[in-house]
């Protein structure tokens, strides 16, 4: 038995496909990015090795700074708006019994399965100041002014709303599952003690949900960093880079401004940031759990 389980050849064949995929589709492009990041390659010309010039330039690039700031804003938005809402709705939904529960859960998740391409274009129309849904709703409530949802000041928040709307069902579902996993005995005990809904929620649900919340918060921050597709179609980083994100910016620089080398430098820094943040969050949360 031992022999069978330590057969090198068998092990090799089992892990080979996975390792190949990793080497070819993840490691190789990263190495290539690192290489091009040190060059002034435009995409077509000969490349010249220019050392750290791209990284120095990146350090002073306000648009890149803005894109990191935007990721931060987005993460804060997710954590402070989407997640509290999702937890509350999940807790409320948990109280409901029977068919309605399933129906609501199903409805909340629907936007999640719709393609980002559709979502982005749909919201472009919803935000349209002249005939968009949102301004028409405001009109019903008596506001007259045409709100410019995608203006330089508002755009990043409008993007946030779209993402919250789109991802709400996902977050809700995870919290909902977390709540369902809580031992009902605890609630019974609480209700015998005469605790109200809020106390139960605050004293039992929230603390027991801590690991789930941590996972969700980590995911929110990562997805805020990785944001590209919605922004690419909704605003393409505009007006004036106010909704720029790292992934979108590197794409623009490489394929629009003919700075393929610079785009790759952005990519390298972007990867480093993502890895660093993930590791950091995992460490922080792990320490907390142990404490």
């Amino acid at each position: 038995m031992k022999k069978l389980y330590s057969n090198k050849w068998v092990i090799f064949t089992l892990v080979l496909p996975g390792v190949l995929v990793f080497l070819f589709a993840i490691l190789a492009p990263i190495c290539l990015s690192v290489y091009y990041g040190f060059t002034d390659y435009t995409g077509m010309s000969e490349e010249n090795f220019i050392g750290l010039d791209n990284y120095v330039q990146l350090f002073h690039d306000s648009a890149f700074g803005r894109s990191l700031l935007n990721s931060l804003l987005l993460a804060i938005g997710f954590i402070c708006i989407q997640h509290p809402l999702a937890i509350i709705v999940a807790a409320v939904l948990d109280k409901l019994q029977g068919k309605a529960e399933g129906i609501f859960r199903c409805i909340y998740f629907i936007p999640n399965v719709i393609s980002v391409a559709v979502i982005a274009y749909l919201w472009k129309f919803i935000y349209n100041p002249d005939f968009g849904l949102l301004n028409n709703v405001l009109k019903i409530f008596g506001f007259e002014g045409q709100v410019n949802w995608l203006s330089q000041q508002n755009a990043i928040w409008s993007v946030l709303i779209v993402l919250i709307w789109h991802g709400f069902g996902w977050g809700m579902l995870i919290y909902y599952t977390g709540i369902k996993n809580i031992d009902p005995v605890l609630y019974e005990a609480a209700s015998i003690d005469g605790a109200g809904w809020w106390t139960t929620f605050y004293r039992i649900t929230l603390p027991l949900m801590k690991p789930v919340i941590q996972i969700n918060v980590t995911m929110a921050i990562i997805s805020a960093l990785k944001q590209m597709e919605t922004v690419y179609l909704l605003t393409n980083g505009g007006p004036a880079n106010s909704t720029q994100f790292a992934a979108n910016y590197l794409y623009q620089q490489a394929f629009k401004a003919f700075k393929y080398g610079y785009g790759n430098a952005i990519g390298v820094i972007f990867i480093i940031i993502c890895v660093a943040v993930t590791v950091l969050l995992n460490t922080v949360f792990r320490d907390k759990q142990e404490a």
Partner: protein
């Protein structure tokens, strides 16, 4: 007194749930509503319209000019292949890393899981170069490779967890019967992993179904274009006809929504299982 308060509580509860449901659904209802009208009806100020004439031909245009069937077929095919590959590769690698005895098992597993941290879009530029040099640009491989690569870490992560929870006894018995490792993996362990396979499949599908940046960068001819292209191409093609644009959006969204509603229970369970673990 108490029942009164409970009633109010119940009412608040319903209000919250319904409000959220309206917010989540209304944009889609709006979309369908206007897709049945004509373009200039957009500029009315009401929330919804009752189209003067229901224009099904908007959908006919969307269906035909949007290459709906071809793109749907491509989407389904590419995503199914990606799912199958991710499942098989992750079972194999997961089994090797968890059950087999070798020195590097943890190292290899960690390396493979690293992929979870790498932002997929950072590989767009170098991959474009690589795929060109090996000639897979504008082929199905240009999508399959990254789709599999970036779903694999998550799949592997989930799989290793599930494989761990399978009792060893079954395998021991199989070994006694003279089974080889491959048979153990594919005939004994795999069937036991059914619920986990469903989870991995659903997560992979949801990850990749909506992807289009890579598709739009790596593909040029319609042969392998995926469903989001119907929408992307239409905005230019019918830039002056909003109603048709709405129709194509509704049409493109429909397959996933319909499948979701039918399989709702399974998908929800799968996502819940996968997300909580992942």
């Amino acid at each position: 007194m108490k029942t009164g308060r409970q009633k109010i509580g119940k009412a608040i509860l319903w209000v919250i749930l319904i409000a959220v449901a309206v917010i989540q659904l209304f944009p889609l209802i709006w979309l369908i509503d206007f897709s049945l009208g004509s373009s200039n009806e957009m500029f009315t100020s009401g929330l919804l319209i009752i189209p003067e004439k229901i224009r099904w031909d908007n959908y006919v245009k969307a269906f035909v000019d949007g290459n709906f069937l071809l793109y749907l077929k491509n989407s389904v095919l590419i995503n199914t292949l990606a799912v199958v590959l991710v499942v098989i590769i992750s079972i194999m690698a997961g089994y090797a890393c968890r059950r087999m005895r070798w020195k590097l098992n943890n190292f290899v597993k960690t390396v493979l899981l690293l992929g979870m941290m790498i932002p997929i879009h950072a590989t767009l530029l170098p991959n474009y170069k690589i795929y060109h040099s090996i000639g897979v640009i504008d082929t199905i491989w240009a999508l399959l490779i990254p789709y599999v690569a970036f779903s694999l870490p998550q799949g592997l992560f989930l799989m290793t967890g599930f494989i761990e929870s399978i009792p060893m006894e079954l395998e021991e018995a199989a070994v006694m019967d003279g089974c080889g490792i491959y048979r153990i993996v594919f005939q004994i362990v795999t069937p036991l992993l059914k619920p986990s396979i469903a989870t991995v499949a659903i997560m992979t599908f949801l990850n990749n179904w909506n992807e289009f940046i890579m598709a739009s960068t790596y593909l040029s001819s319609p042969t392998w274009k995926t469903l989001p292209f119907s929408v992307l191409e239409f905005t230019g093609e019918y830039s002056s006809n909003y109603a048709v644009q709405f129709a194509v959006m509704a049409l493109t969204a429909a397959p996933a929504v319909i499948v979701y509603i039918i399989l709702n229970k399974h998908i929800t369970k799968g996502v819940a299982m996968g997300a909580v673990k992942g």
